[in-house]
Amino acid sequence: MIKKRMLLNLDKLKIPKGKPIVFAERCKGCGLCIEYCPKQVLSFSDDYNEKGYHYPVIPPEKEGECIRCGFCRQVCPDFAIYVEDEN
């Protein structure tokens, strides 16, 4: 199998990492955060919150891909999501 080239100085570059924290009970399932996440980290949960909405979750394969831009927090109309600094 032919290997691809790697970026040789990747270890020297610092990439901001974040972790979205969701207050599921506040979510009304509008999906703005999912729509606008530039890294497409978020998707709808399978289960419902107590109001009966699907809320945003991070699927296991997207774990660690959040770049802490914080746009989800900015667009959320219900203050139901924010990002913690992971660095």
Binding site: I2, K3, K4, R5, M6, L7, L8, N9, L10, L13, K14, I15, P16, Y36, P38, I67, R68, C69, G70, F71
Partner: protein, 658 residues
């Protein structure tokens, strides 16, 4: 009218073929010819004296000199006749060498007849000639230099030091060009950055240089002496006056992009400087990769990280209009893409590199900090094969020319590799080693002998992968043996091609290019830094592949040409320009459409009368207008329709009375 005809022997060049005696006799019989003579070398000092003396003595009003091409000595003879008070436009050169004796040396009799026709035509033309005076046009003594590599830097500095204003335009975010990417330079092994960056800083600080980086020349109008140039400043989204170059924005940026400056071998962020020594040291947001778009700002991490608040997502492109009198083209080169060399695994195997990529691996400021590593797995290669003439000297790849620098840089690569990996082996496949330059041959010999690099004379037929090795199949033509080498890395000395957009720029400036797209000089030996488009000068690899010393020499030469041009207050131009005959012109304006230089405009008088007008400064005397005009309403001075008609009639041996 008293025409004098002077026929030159040019030693045996002309007299060895043509019957000069007969030419003189026949020429003397032509209408209005008062005198005809011959001389062994008319261009010599005594030859010119003879012409001058006869003009005075016999009161000649017009002169025909039958000799070599006017390209050779028209200026010499024009000066000679001018010295004795004859207007130089009353002189006509009949070319009986290049167009007669040289090409018909096997048929002297017919050639003599042809020479006679050429002389007769010249006499017919000159008899209708009118005295003309050169025209003067204003000269803006400022220069535009396009390209911020070493060629552009050198030309800009030389002109600026000469006391004139320079606008230097560079497409990428930093000055430096390809030279900034190099590790060490042959044959002295000077660190490239160490000798280049002080020059870059000098450009930025020079009071006479206006530096535009991340900018492109969008439009150029006008002619030598008065070009109007539009420069487009692309938005950096970082305010250059506020940015301190601290790099906090890049640290905060979450987006990883392959760095073009590292030939894609290393990474940068979406907000970046190409390399730490960049001039100007101003960060640029690469909107193509930034998470933000023109319509939506998603991520503001750089904005929040920036202390002086230099980030401005709302910046727009800006157009800057300038006026200059001359332009230096220093647009540099690109490499033939690796993908074009599939037989060597180019673009297929990750460890087949171009010379410039290997240069980044060797560079202390490169992605690996100067440690040679394979792009596939980051391992240090223990056996490297260098293949010279990869695409060059190869008509099948469209580059039959020699790229000139590869022999030297491959020797340098092999040496630097051996210094970096002392237990490594290096093999070089070559056709021949071309090391013409001061101390170049000595350098290659040192590499071969002291560094124990194996040079194999022959071409490589194929490179392919076997497990994690690259297998190189080639031939050693000195031993006549087929060679197979299992290598960890293959470096191709890919051919040099003109940088992209050179052709578009050349078209905009009406500067000719050659069949490979390199800019063409007027004369390969005697005028190597001038384009045939007046006021356009060439520097560096945009003209042909060349190394740093040649590039710097050529850039200084171009600068000296510009300084020569700027030594005058006004520009004197040849009077061979279109002239409107108002009696015949009815304002049909066909000529307006065909003029390639936009020199003709239509004028409508108050009484409704229409006619065209020529802007003499723009007119190049090409004659398209004259050929198009149905009314004989426009003529090129010195080449009027009547003159050309008379010339053709004389050639067709028609009787002038007909």
């Amino acid at each position: 009218m008293r025409i004098g005809v002077f026929i030159c022997h040019c030693g045996k060049n002309i007299a060895g073929v043509l019957d000069i005696k007969r030419l003189v006799e026949e020429a003397a019989k032509l209408k209005d010819v008062a005198y005809a003579t011959d001389y062994v070398y008319l261009c010599s000092e005594p030859g010119q004296k003879e012409i001058q003396q006869k003009i005075k003595e016999l009161e000649l009003t017009h002169v025909v000199i039958a000799a070599c091409s006017p390209k050779m000595h028209a200026t010499t003879f024009a000066r000679a006749v001018e010295e004795v008070g004859l207007n130089p436009y009353l002189l006509e050169i009949a070319n009986i060498r290049e167009q007669c004796s040289w090409v018909h040396h096997d048929a002297p009799e017919e050639a003599t007849e042809k020479a006679l026709e050429i002389i007769r035509a010249a006499v017919a033309k000159v008899s209708l000639a009118k005295p003309l005076a050169p025209i003067t046009v204003p000269l803006t003594r400022k220069v535009l230099v396009i390209g911020g590599g070493i060629a552009g830097i050198q030309a800009a500095l030389d002109i600026a030091n000469g006391g004139f204003e320079v606008y230097l335009v560079e497409r990428s975010p930093s000055l430096g060009g390809h030279m900034a990417q190099l590790s060490e330079t042959f044959p002295t092994l000077d660190c490239s950055s160490c000798i280049l960056t002080p020059r870059m800083v000098e450009v930025a600080r020079h009071p006479n240089i206006h530096l535009f980086t991340y900018a492109e020349v969008k439009n150029v109008e006008g002619i030598v002496g008065q070009y109007k140039v539009t420069i487009e400043q692309k938005p950096r989204y970082v305010d250059p006056d506020k940015c301190t170059g601290c790099g906090d924005c890049a640290e905060a940026c979450p987006v990883i992009v392959p760095n073009e400056f590292d030939q894609g071998l290393g990474a940068r962020k979406a907000v970046y400087v190409p390399f730490p020594q960049a001039v100007p040291l101003v960060y640029t947001i690469d909107l193509e990769h930034c998470l933000n778009t023109k319509r939506l700002i998603v991520c503001e991490q750089c904005y929040h990280a920036c202390g002086p608040k230099a980030i401005n997502y709302l910046m727009e492109p800006k157009e800057i209009e300038i006026e200059v009198g001359a332009i230096v083209l220093a647009t540099g080169y690109d490499l033939l893409p690796l993908e074009a060399l599939k037989e060597y695994g180019g673009g297929i195997y990750p460890d087949v590199l171009s010379g410039l990529e290997f240069e980044r691996l060797l560079s202390a400021s490169g992605p690996t900090g100067g440690i040679v590593r394979r792009p596939s797995d980051g391992k240090i290669p223990k056996r490297v094969v260098f293949i010279q003439c990869a695409g060059s000297r190869d008509p099948e790849h469209g580059c039959p020319y020699c790229s000139k620098i590869c022999c030297m840089y491959t020797a340098k690569h092999a040496l630097l590799y051996k210094h970096a990996v002392p237990d490594g082996e290096a093999y070089v496949f070559y056709i021949d080693v071309r090391a013409a330059g001061k101390r170049y041959e000595e350098f290659v010999q040192r590499v071969m002998e002291e560094e124990r690099i194996v040079y194999l004379r022959g071409k490589v037929s194929k490179v392919f992968q076997r497990k994690d090795k690259l297998v190189v199949w080639g031939v050693d033509t000195l031993s006549g043996m087929a060679v197979e080498i299992e290598a960890d890395m293959v470096v191709l000395a890919t051919a040099i091609v003109p940088s992209k957009n050179t052709a578009d720029l050349a078209k905009l400036l009406k500067a000719p290019i050659d069949e490979f797209g390199f800019l063409n000089e007027v004369h390969p030996k005697l005028r190597p830094v001038e384009s045939s488009a007046m006021g356009i000068y060439l520097a560096g690899a945009a003209q042909a592949p060349k190394d740093i010393p040649d590039t710097v020499s050529q850039a200084s030469a171009a600068a000296s040409k510009v300084l020569g041009l700027f030594s005058q207050e006004e520009l004197s131009l040849e009077p061979i320009k279109a002239e409107v005959n108002l009696e015949n012109c009815d304002g049909c304006a066909y000529c307006v459409d065909v003029c390639p230089f936009d020199a003709i405009t239509l004028v409508v008088e108050e009484d409704g009368h229409k006619h065209v007008e020529v802007k003499k400064a723009l007119c190049q005397g090409c004659g398209c207008c004259m050929a198009t005009c149905p009314k004989e309403g426009i003529n090129v001075a010195g080449f009027t329709l009547n003159q050309l008609k008379a010339q053709i009639h004389a050639l067709l041996k028609e009787d002038e009375d007909d």
